[in-house]
Symmetry: C2
């Protein structure tokens, strides 16, 4: 019997735990689910015979180590910064490890030692990172195998609300960490376009968003992610002249979000010691140039329209108004940064209601030359959640991780060391099984030059 | 005989050292000038009988302490972050101390102990901070003494190039730390306007600059400083509805600088590992939205004009061209942040030539009510340097400090503790003597309502 220890029983561990327990009989596994909260771990195990719920402090080495020692395989669903402690224990104890998080530099340093011990520490096998890597490598390798030469790679993903649950003018609800959504894009986005570096500063990121067509779905806003360049190396695309990864939002989101950015409402670098003395409209007004004071008797909408050269009827202004930023409601938190004030407000406004469904969109666009033909490949994943607990986001993080763990346990994966799922021995079985769970990409191929006409923006 | 130890013999210590040595005979002082470089210290002492040049490592407690123990008074011209070490020694050894730097929180904590020992640690007695505090308090207190009630306080300062040495389209040369100029304004500028908080994010700071009239000089750009709010407390203006401190630049500077900010060229948060592979125009282009690529055969000027809705003839574009940002010249430094690339370029372009003169401008505008009259007070300081070594900047930092030190030595200042020069026992004698050196404010008083007509923007 193989003993698997899953550390962390939060939302994104649900589908992982369910999968492992569902297949435990068949493969003779025992699954121990550990969490700080015993109740949460018990809830996830649901009393199933092959499962045990335990509680310990995973950050305390003395508490943690006996549990690791007793397992044959460890899955860490802890916040990413804590994986390194678990990884070092696993190395000492000779246990395989899997996580859905980015490989940190410290973890990467363990690579040779992990190899020397004949172990595998599999990471970045959730949704993004995870399904993005696996699907991209699958399509890239197929194009190469038929002799195609790739000259552009675009990859987009978004965690959105499903159309049927979309009832606000932003067309957005949180299915992911709200703080990360509020701070998204701060810093610089770097990518390559036709052989030239692109540096997109934060204040141009949302105003400069592009439109991307998702077949059968329509047009979405897309803005570039911070870290497109590093994927050249991971994906074996070192000489590619164009590579860009981006985030998808419903059309119109970026234009309105840009207003918040331009005003400084996403700034997390200073506190307002007086924030709970202010109403939202006073707070908004504090970010307007003071020469607009001559409009001080006009309403906030007129001031915003004036500042940003918008028509009074602009729907970006509807979005701000819907948030309550023009209202006399008091800000409920004190000594808060602008980003904290905004996050507190958005958590109330963009909350997934119990029956709301979320939606994951992911799309790769690969331009390549085959003989004398210029082609474009488009592959698209659309996946919906069931409700606010069983989200597509949580399922698509947990499921590929679970499948990856299974194939390691079954001895189907030969890779050793600190790895990410960019080799066929990992991505082929995982992608194949994901399709059985309805997680698969639809694909299109077309003549490159026909595209612009077909998808005219 | 009183023994004074001056630690640090850099440019801004020159006028301090000269003043102290010039008056040493009269007051029976001996002046020891210490620097890491013995040569520099000797150069400043110039072999004068009342002076001694020494060299020691001021950051090494063991090397530093005997020199402090041997002095009656210590002046620290070290970088601001090192004052605290000198201050703690002075406290232990029972020595008075003076600096031209802002009081750090750690230094402020020593206040009671310094008082208990009957000592004075006088800080912020250079130019800005320094002359700004002393002149502001002088004018504020005069208005109060005649019964005026102050409702608005504006204070502006700029370290600029003198008109006679101004020969570039930016009308700016460095008379101060270039890095601080490149990074100026990053963060948020907070001030109060008519009782309401103002939060000006960096990306609105230069585009939203205002025009300020300096009598007999003309119109200057002004943008708000980060820290206006803290002066309410220091200046006893707690209930004032409007308080703003700002930085002055020649007219048109802010509009062009804003282009650099909007493009992200002042960003210091990431490195370009490939910076020396790029020309300036390639670098500039990397910050333009990629939908401008259709203009890729057009020149950089046309691309910039298109992006920022500028006329092709706009002088902000002349400024960028003059810097060489449209050129095929290679960037000479590798692995640099945008801010570092820009600083390296500007240090070559905005260098003070040996015979160039700099200029200090400082202006306070105080609005107040006297009986039923609404009045405006304007006081202005204009001061010119002699050349690139004897700058107005260095002189106006060192001279008030020297005069303050003299009056402490002569027993004319009764304040104790960690202080800044906002009380008459310090600012009155210092301002009086500064006037003898040609450093004085011209003053105007006018009816508040006549101002707008007179100085119509």
């Amino acid at each position: 019997m193989k003993k698997v220890l899953i550390i962390g029983a939060g939302r994104s561990a649900t589908s992982l735990i369910d999968y492992m327990l569902d297949q435990a009989d068949k493969h003779d596994w025992h699954i121990t689910v550990a969490d700080m909260s015993l109740e949460l771990a018990q809830e996830k195990v649901e009393g199933r015979a092959r499962g045990t719920a335990v509680s310990f402090n995973a950050l305390d080495e003395a508490e943690r180590k006996p549990h690791l020692a007793n397992a044959d395989f460890v899955v860490s669903m802890l916040p990413a910064r804590f994986h390194i402690h678990v990884a070092k224990d696993c190395l000492k104890l000779g246990k395989n490890l899997a996580t859905a998080s980015y490989v940190s530099p410290e973890l990467k340093e363990l690579d040779q030692e992990v190899k020397d011990k004949g172990l595998i520490f599999l990471n970045e096998i959730g949704l993004d990172p995870g399904i993005d890597h696996m699907s991209a490598m699958q399509f890239i390798n197929r194009i190469r195998e038929k002799g195609g030469k790739i000259h552009a790679f675009y990859s987009y993903a978004g965690g959105l609300v499903a159309p049927e649950s979309d009832n606000n003018p932003w067309h957005y609800k949180f299915s992911w960490n709200p703080r990360n959504v509020v701070l998204a894009g701060q810093g610089v986005a770097k990518y390559l376009y036709e052989g030239r570096y692109r540096h997109v500063p934060y204040n141009q990121l949302f105003s400069g968003s592009d439109l991307v067509y998702v077949p059968n779905m329509g047009w979405y806003d897309a803005y570039p992610n911070r870290t497109s360049l590093k994927y050249r190396g991971s994906y074996g695309l070192d000489d590619i002249p164009t590579i860009m990864r981006g985030t998808l939002r419903y059309k119109g989101f970026c234009k309105a979000w840009d207003l918040l950015v331009q005003l400084g409402l996403t700034d997390d670098s200073y506190k307002m010691e007086y924030s709970d003395d202010l109403t939202y409209s006073q707070w908004l007004r504090s970010h307007l140039p003071h020469n607009l004071e001559r409009f001080s008797n006009a309403n906030m909408r007129a001031q915003m329209a004036s500042l940003f050269f918008l028509n009074m009827a602009d729907d970006a202004l509807d979005k701000l108004k819907w948030l309550g930023l023009f209202s006399d409601e008091k800000i409920p938190i004190d000594n808060a940064s602008p980003a904290q004030v905004l996050q507190e407000l958005l958590e109330r406004k963009w909350n997934l209601e119990p029956d709301d469904k979320d939606m994951i969109l992911m799309q790769h666009e690969i331009e390549y030359t085959l003989g004398d033909q210029k082609k474009r490949h488009i592959s698209t994943l659309v996946n919906y959640g069931d409700n606010a607990v069983d989200t597509a986001m949580a399922r698509l993080v947990g499921l590929p991780l679970a499948i990856g763990v299974k194939h390691i346990l079954l001895g189907n994966i030969s890779s050793k060391g600190v790895v990410i799922p960019i080799k066929p021995d990992v991505y082929e079985p995982v992608m194949t099984e994901l399709a059985e769970y309805g997680v698969s990409f639809s694909e299109m191929e077309m003549d490159l030059n026909s595209f612009d006409e077909y998808f005219q923006r």
